[in-house]
Amino acid sequence: MSGPSTYVPKSAIGRWFESRLPVMGLVHSSFVAYPTPKNLNYWWTFGAILSFMLGAQIVTGVVLAMHYTPNTGLAFDSVEQIMRDVNWGWLLRYLHSNGASMFFLAVYVHIARGMYYGSYKAPREVLWLLGVVIFLLMMATAFMGYVLPWGQMSFWGATVITNLFSAIPLVGDTITTWLWGGYSVDNPTLNRFFSLHYLLPFMIAGVVVLHVWALHVVGQNNPAGVEIKDVEKDSVPFTPYATLKDSVGISAFLILYCWFVFFVPNYLGDPDNYINANPLQTPAHIVPEWYFLPFYAILRAIPSKLGGVIFMFGAIVMLVLLPWLDTSRVRSAVYRPVYKVLFWCFIACVIGLGYLGSQPPEGGAVLAARILTAFYFIYFLVLLPLLGLFETPRPVPASIADSVLEGGAAEPGRA
């Protein structure tokens, strides 16, 4: 995917094959000889962790689909059958349901890393935008997957989210009826969600290929935020250095994943989803899965239906616009003293929104959600553009090698 391949097949069969389909050379140049910045820290292993999670979700999902029945009369019971009767069914389902949470945890770390180190800046805008596309596909996939067990939260989550489209003027009701295949969330809805839930991960995989391709064209960003100038001095080959570092990251992440699966498999879920869907009774308190809570808080903070929907989707649009909203010429927050503080304020804001999204929309929670929603948008639309003009960055190292030889100064203040 980058640079001329230096791959030379050792065997005669290898040479025969390579001259007909140079796929081994492609793998070699992309994942063996590929030069990675030598100062990458563990926050850079989340790309590999995400690739692993996508694979884990596809493998567990394909086998779960062998036992699941997408019919409103049978879906809930078929999931219980997976839990109780299918050999190792409990493990496969817990791996898949907690895997979704782990996938989102990893993607949020990955996005935050990109924001902290300015990985969205030129020439990596397309790389960043492909990432936003993957994030959107992930959200659609996770939402539809959550509907499949056909519990109370499945049903009412599906009702609330599909009703978001009814806020669109003129055509809203036509669109929701089209999405449902009826006048409410029902069997046609469950069937199409199952079909799409199976399809979308493979679309994600396709966009991941483009994402990695774009990454290997422009090269990786790094904690210093300066480009590789001298391949010899500034970089190390992907294999073994990045391969093994990624393996350590994946292993550590697996410990967390397994802790959830084996010790608190229902901690991140909602007990109401173990009640069969009832179209005539809304649960007292509807909450989405934790990874949607910040967006849910923004939706509820706006006292207007269309406005809430616009701001919620607008929160994602901010990510799309980010490469052009940040006007600073310096990439890494390491050399941007004010931005670094603001970034952590932003992270606190998103976590705060997540907390408020889990609370009933009453009293002080509504006001707090409005304040944090305002900060979320002001951060992107006002603070970032102005900061690039007024902030005085610290001197940026001349090269990656220089930043490493400063004595671990690539990231002062962090172990």
Partner: protein, 171 residues
């Protein structure tokens, strides 16, 4: 191709006609894949529900399922009717008189789906003693009209008719 002549040539005409035909054919081929997601004839067939309201005591709300959605049939008390009728229209986000929403003042029939995001509001709750939606806090009065919260519209009134004094047909 048309570098020398300002006049459109026969080839230009054929080019545009072919392109237009291809676009129409593509649209026609795509349409079934879009339209299959809409409700089919069996879903569209207007089902109707009959309900004996003679057994509903004053003050009670009965929920019936119609087209997969709940319909609230509320036997309103004198106090609830008075409250609904005496509200000045200027106070309502979606102004509608109580008379325009009922066929007989004692009986209010509304689709029990919050016009915000489709949750089912809880009866006899909220500051107006009408309905309160637990999802996002919309408040409806005893005429099913939106009074507070994010919902944009009053609860919808379905088509219904009194077959007799004690029987209604919804749909």
């Amino acid at each position: 191709m048309a570098t020398q002549t300002a006049e459109p040539t026969r080839r230009d005409m054929l080019y545009i006609a072919t392109g237009a035909a291809a676009a129409v054919a593509t649209g026609a081929a795509v349409w079934p894949f879009i339209a299959q997601m809409n409700p089919d004839a069996s879903t569209l067939a207007l089902s109707s529900t009959e309900l004996d309201i003679g057994a509903i005591p004053e003050g009670q709300i009965v929920t019936v399922k119609w087209r997969g959605k709940p319909v609230f049939v509320r036997h309103r008390t004198k106090k609830e009717i008075d409250e609904a009728e005496q509200v000045p229209l200027a106070q309502l986000p979606d102004p509608a008189t109580d008379q325009s929403r009922v066929k007989k003042p004692e009986w209010l029939v509304v689709i029990g789906v919050c016009t915000h995001l489709g949750c089912i509001p809880l009866g006899h709750q909220g500051p107006y003693d009408g309905w309160f939606c637990p999802c996002h806090g919309s408040v409806y009065d005893t005429s099913g009209r939106i009074r507070q919260g994010p919902a944009p519209r009053n609860l919808d009134v379905p088509d219904y008719a009194f077959l007799t004094d004690t029987k209604i047909k919804i749909g």
